[in-house]
């Protein structure tokens, strides 16, 4: 089975700040522009690496249409000023698009068919809503065995909460913790290494003067974390996905805008350009689960990824478990017996936001830099995926 001929190393991993959607700081920032910024920042981290050697740019995006449509990967390659010889491909596995892009890029190197790859992710939920602009369903999803395909993500979280008996209080506590951890990490400057500042330029009509006002500002911090969150304020929110449910806007991930990019190279390239590897990509796994309880997906994918990496679950020091919902996060943590202290030590998507297809790339940057700062060995990025999947990728700090 194992056809690997060489290892894939990450030499750059960065991401933009995450903006709230649809009315946050990036509401007028095109996702292709966000992606360009992430690509340019990543390449600038390895100035010695000849960009002509980049084989391909693989970009994850969950709703690749409109402003992030066409082939946003190739568009961004050109807009970023990368050599025209560099390829671009957009991949979609919803929330696991970004980590899938990393895995696919790594694999090109690992089978020996590429020396330098870029993996990235991008999503503007401000500009392209969930389901996209023109959702259209197949009649066959209403057959009993397919009905879960019609379930919105929130309802699947309700189903997990019901089945795993996860109370509203526990979900709210988890959500509050996410905010508290995120705020603490922000105050300690823990996101600094992974974050690329973004200049926002907005052109707005000034009706009084008849002129176009150009507003420019630079942002470098995620927008979603709330220092004023409390159990009392969370308890006030009404369930939105089920009349008698427990899942609220407060214990669900936020809709967001953002992009992330990583540069992966072979050992040969490391040596050739004298590059410092940040991490080695070890393994990736994906598993399907019933779509109506898609949130439990990581439970199936995580052990497979560990096996593929040849390590045990308890060897993982840091989990970036995407908090699509508190309910599914708690179910996964409980069923796999994860140490809560190792899960999202800097907060998760409930506080920081979840720009769907970008999240895998963004959280890869998070875990890679966090392991370096704290001198840890193995880290994982994992998430549940709409229509019933779980995905997990494992990195080893270098």
């Amino acid at each position: 089975m194992n056809q690997q001929v060489q290892d894939a190393y990450i030499v750059a991993a960065t991401r933009t700040p995450i903006g709230k959607a649809p009315r946050g700081m990036f509401k007028n920032m095109r996702p292709d522009d966000l992606l360009v910024r992430a690509l340019q920042s990543a390449t600038s981290k390895v100035p010695d690496l000849d960009p002509k050697l980049i084989e391909d740019v693989i970009v994850g995006c969950a709703f690749p249409e409109a402003e992030q449509g066409l082939n946003v990967a190739r568009m961004a390659v050109l807009l970023a000023g990368l050599p025209q010889s560099v390829g671009g491909v957009t991949v979609n596995r919803y929330c696991a698009s970004g980590i899938t892009a990393v895995a696919m890029a790594a694999d090109r190197i690992r089978v020996g068919q590429a020396e330098v790859m870029i993996a990235a992710g991008v999503e503007s939920m401000s500009m392209v809503p969930m389901m996209g602009h023109h959702p259209s369903m197949n009649m066959d999803i209403f057959k009993d065995e397919n009905l879960g395909m019609a379930y919105g993500m929130g309802l699947t979280a309700e189903k997990v909460a019901q089945q795993w008996k996860i109370s509203r209080e526990v979900q709210d506590q988890f959500a509050l913790k996410s905010h508290q951890k995120a705020i603490a990490a922000q105050q300690a400057g823990e996101f600094r290494d992974e974050t690329t500042a973004v200049d926002i330029v907005e052109r707005l009509p000034n009706l009084a003067t008849g002129k176009i006002e150009i507003k420019t500002r630079s942002v470098n911090q995620d927008e979603g974390a709330r220092a004023d969150s409390s159990l009392a304020s969370l308890a006030k929110l009404k369930p939105v996905f089920a009349a008698k449910g427990t899942v609220t806007a407060g214990n669900s991930s936020q809709t967001s805008d953002g992009a992330g990019a990583l540069i992966l190279v072979s050992e040969k390239t490391l040596k050739q350009f004298n590059l410092t590897p940040l991490a080695r990509f070890m393994s990736f796994a994906v598993r399907g689960v019933p779509p109506e309880i898609m949130g439990i997906g990581p439970k199936e994918a995580i052990p497979v990824a560990c096996r593929a990496a040849g390590i045990t679950l308890d060897q993982i020091d840091w989990f970036e478990l995407n908090e699509a919902f508190a309910a599914q996060s708690l179910a996964v943590i409980r069923d796999l017996g994860l140490d809560p202290n190792k899960v999202n030590p800097m907060g998760g998507a409930i506080a920081l936001g979840h720009p769907l297809g970008a999240t895998g790339a963004i959280r890869s940057a998070t875990v890679i830099h966090a392991m370096r700062r704290r001198n840890l060995k193995y880290g994982m990025v994992t998430m549940c995926v709409g229509t019933g999947m779980g995905a997990a990728g494992i990195f080893e700090r270098m």
């Binding site: 023109h134 259209s136 009649m139 309802l155 009349a243 008698k244």
Partner: protein, 795 residues
């Protein structure tokens, strides 16, 4: 001709009244700038911005379309007074303090454009005193313009001139208020609290006084003085709680301060119980306690004797209920007058007090008895004015009884009834006009040209004016409809059924009216004779009348009736002469479908329109969903049809009803070319004008065309959302079934996207689904529940 057009209004003061008046201007497409003080912190126009934000939350809604709140221009007295120069009408609505108002007037006077009208919305301060210090030229353009809360919904506006006010200013303002803002205008004299509050607050004080005297509790009084007397359902004390006891106290204070020589002066003392409530901060609804206090689910009443809150729910005695149900007012009053029951004596007493009061004060507060009656009807929501009640009950007999009570010391003061009461008259309202003691004459109705727009004016008891029910020439009449005309070239169809439900008789009448209009008239207007008096356009299909048919022939017997309704609506749509629906009040279910098939609609701003069939487990099958598909296709113009269908689908699937004509337009039930009328008395005039204009312009009905439909994937996409609603427990399995059927019909059925269908195709889908549902036990449960209790069954 000469036009007087108000191009822009300024409202000074963004309090409850000022902001709502500004909102109503926006409803009526009158540009308005709203002023208040500059905010001390934050954005300079913060006070006004907050008031505008609050407009979106108020219930009942001041704005017909909340999204239009941003159309109110914001301003403050420090930076923006220049804006006043561009306004033709300036309404001051700041707090009721003479000194504050004078200060503001000094500040704004130089910015008021020459020729602009300046008016105060004071509820009781002297207009003449307010105008002191003005230059003579401004005095001529100043008057009182007193709106009632909530100004969108309460028709009354009292116009109060000073001796210096130029008459044409009042005429111009009355014209604007009447037709543009749709208000009912009376002219009041510049006396404290003017007419409506003077009589209305007196009436409340009298009720408090008599309730104490006869030992009645506030819940019983409210049951006696609410709907049973044809007044606000909330009665007396509950209304006071809603208005706010501090506000009430304030208005009473105005009477204390300014009416020392009034023979009823002793009654103007703030009642002890009210004083106590105010000092403890129990100011009514806004503070959670007043005459009533809500504790959990219970509403407790104040016990006058102990000041504690105790269990409420007291009702009128059966005996009194029977008396109040008596149709003949003479018999009703005689029974109350003769009653030994304390509740009966109480009711007689409060009527006697008001009759006494209005007779004594008519000469000083109003020009004629009609203005007093309209003031109470339009400003306090009474079905009948006090002079009307008196006259209807037998003028002389009532007068004698009132006099007896005065002589016996039972009345609130001993001021005698004026001599004119006993001059042999049968009342104050006659075909010549309403009595004016000052002129000792009967004053005819205003002849301002604006009233030519009202084919039938608001009726008054005893005036014997022509009524819509009987006026004109009848072409056909039965129990269901009257087809008639005013001896001109526009035919009128008026529904006679209860709540104007659509019965087989109405469907037949509609077909007949269309035939007749086609042969002999320029067009047809659908207008109900109670349109301006709170009537509904139509409450929908007449379920009751279908029942015998259903019992004898089952569901199959109903199908031909549905087909007949569909054909009638199609005949309307394709009639060779224009058909205009004059809409006011509720137009639900079949009523909504009826108006959707007219060539044009003229709708009162207070139009509550919706396809509500799902409430009884059915779907619209009179072409309502066919119209949804057709309109969405027109809106989409070849773009993604589903985006345009969603709105129509949601409206039908959730039985959404518009809260205004503006909202109905957004929902797609009214077209952008339809006319919104602010004064419901103008509906018939405007509808007829539209028929004539359309006829003159060479009206042709639409050409039948094929309709592109969204098809089966659109159905699936909508259904996917419904699955989430169902499995999330928001809707029942039967709701899901009905909604999925609606989705399929508006998408054109189980066909490919972009398929071309005709109207009959969609109508057949409607009918088939309707029949399937009618056969469904859950739907039958909903229908029976609605017929038995009038409330929707959730199953």
């Amino acid at each position: 001709m000469s036009n007087f057009i108000i191009k822009k209004v300024a409202v000074l003061g963004a309090g409850v009244m000022g902001a709502q008046i500004a909102a109503h201007c926006i409803n009526a497409k009158v540009p308005v700038v709203l002023f208040d003080l500059p905010a001390k912190e934050g954005p300079k126009n913060g006070i006004v911005l907050r008031a505008i934000e609050n407009l979106k939350k108020l219930n009942p809604a001041p704005l017909g379309d909340k999204d239009q709140a941003a159309l109110i221009e914001v301003a403050n007295y420090e930076d923006n007074l220049e804006l006043l120069k561009g306004c033709d009408l300036i309404v001051e609505a700041i707090a009721e303090r003479m000194d504050w108002k004078h200060d503001l007037y000094k500040k704004v006077a130089e910015y008021i454009a020459p020729g602009a009208i300046f008016a105060s919305n004071t509820s009781g301060l002297s207009i003449t005193a307010l105008s002191e210090g003005f230059k003579a030229e401004l005095k001529e353009r100043f008057c009182g313009v007193h709106f009632f809360n909530p100004p969108r919904y309460m028709p009354l506006v009292e116009l109060v001139p000073t001796p210096a006010t130029r008459p044409e200013i009042l005429d111009q303002l009355e014209t604007f208020l009447t037709t543009t803002l749709g208000k009912g205008v009376i002219r009041a004299k510049d006396t404290p609290n003017f007419v409506a509050n003077r009589v209305g607050i007196f009436g409340m004080l009298a009720i408090l006084h008599e309730a104490k005297k006869f030992g009645l509790s506030c819940d019983v009084v409210d049951d006696l003085t609410g709907a049973k007397l044809g007044r606000a359902k909330s009665g007396t004390f509950r209304t006071a709680d809603v208005v706010g006891l501090d506000t009430l106290g304030h208005v009473i204070k105005t009477m204390q301060d300014n009416l020392a020589s009034d023979p009823f002066f002793s009654l103007y003392q703030t009642p002890e119980v009210l004083n106590k409530l105010m000092t403890t901060g129990a100011l009514g609804q806004k503070t959670g306690a007043g005459f009533y206090k809500k504790v959990g689910k219970d509403i407790l009443r104040l016990d006058f004797a102990t000041g504690n809150y105790v269990a409420g729910g007291g009702k009128a005695d059966d005996l009194i209920n029977r008396i109040l149900k008596e149709k003949d007012p003479a018999k009703r009053f005689a029974a109350l007058h003769a009653s030994s029951n304390p509740q009966g004596q109480f009711l007689w007493a409060i009527f006697r007090d008001v009759f006494h009061y209005i007779a004594v004060h008519l000469a000083t507060i109003a020009d004629s008895a009609r203005d007093v009656d309209f003031a109470m009807r339009w400003g306090f929501g009474w079905n009948q004015g006090p002079f009307e009640s008196w006259q209807a009950a037998g003028w002389r007999q009532i007068a004698d009884w009132v006099k007896e009570d005065i002589d016996a010391g039972k009345a609130l003061c001993n001021a005698p009834l004026p001599a004119w009461v006993f001059d042999g008259r049968a009342g104050v309202h006659t075909p010549q006009g309403a009595y004016s003691p000052v002129h000792n004459a009967y004053v005819p109705r205003s002849t301002l040209p604006v009233y030519q727009r009202q084919v039938f004016r608001a009726p008054v008891v005893g005036e014997s004016a022509a009524e819509g029910k009987t006026a004109g020439t009848t072409v056909f009449e039965d129990d269901s409809v009257r087809i008639w005309h005013q001896n001109d070239d526009v035919l009128i169809l008026s529904l006679k059924t209860k709540m104007h439900v659509i019965s087989p008789g109405v469907i037949g009448g509609l077909a007949l009216a269309i035939q007749e209009a086609e042969k002999n008239y320029q067009g047809l207007v659908l207008w109900n004779t109670d349109a301006a008096d709170g009537g509904v356009f139509s409450a929908g299909a007449d379920l009751q009348s279908m029942l015998p048919l259903f019992m004898s022939g089952g569901v199959k017997a109903i199908e031909p009736e549905v087909a007949k309704l569909q054909r009638a609506h199609q005949a309307m749509e394709y009639a060779p002469v224009p058909i205009v629906a004059a809409v006011a009040g509720m137009a639900l279910g079949g009523g909504c479908e009826l108006l959707m098939h007219a060539a044009k609609r003229v709708a009162s701003i207070e139009s509550y329109i919706g396809l509500v069939e799902v409430g009884v487990g059915l779907i619209p099958a009179g072409g309502g969903l066919k119209e949804a598909a057709l309109r969405a296709a027109k809106d989409a113009k070849g773009n993604d049809l589903l985006q345009f269908l969603k709105n129509y689908f949601m409206n039908a699937a959730t039985a959404a009803v518009s809260k205004s004509a503006l909202e109905a337009r957004k929902m797609g039930y009214l077209a952008s070319s339809d006319v919104i009328v602010f004064n419901p008395y103008e509906l018939l005039h405007v509808a007829k004008s539209e028929v004539r204009a359309m006829y003159q312009a060479g009206y042709r009905p639409p050409l039948p065309a094929k309709i592109p439909v969204a098809g089966r994937y659109a159905t699936a996409t909508i259904m996917a959302q419904l699955v989430n609603m169902r499995d999330g427990g928001f809707i029942s399995a039967h709701d899901y079934k009905i909604s999925a059927m609606i989705a399929e019909i508006v998408s054109g059925g189980d066909v490919e996207q972009g398929s071309l269908v005709d109207e009959q195709w969609l109508l057949d889908l409607e009918r088939k689904a309707f029949m399937e549902l009618l056969n469904h036990p859950k739907t039958q449960e909903r229908i029976m529940g609605m017929m038995q209790t009038g409330k929707p069954v959730r199953n």
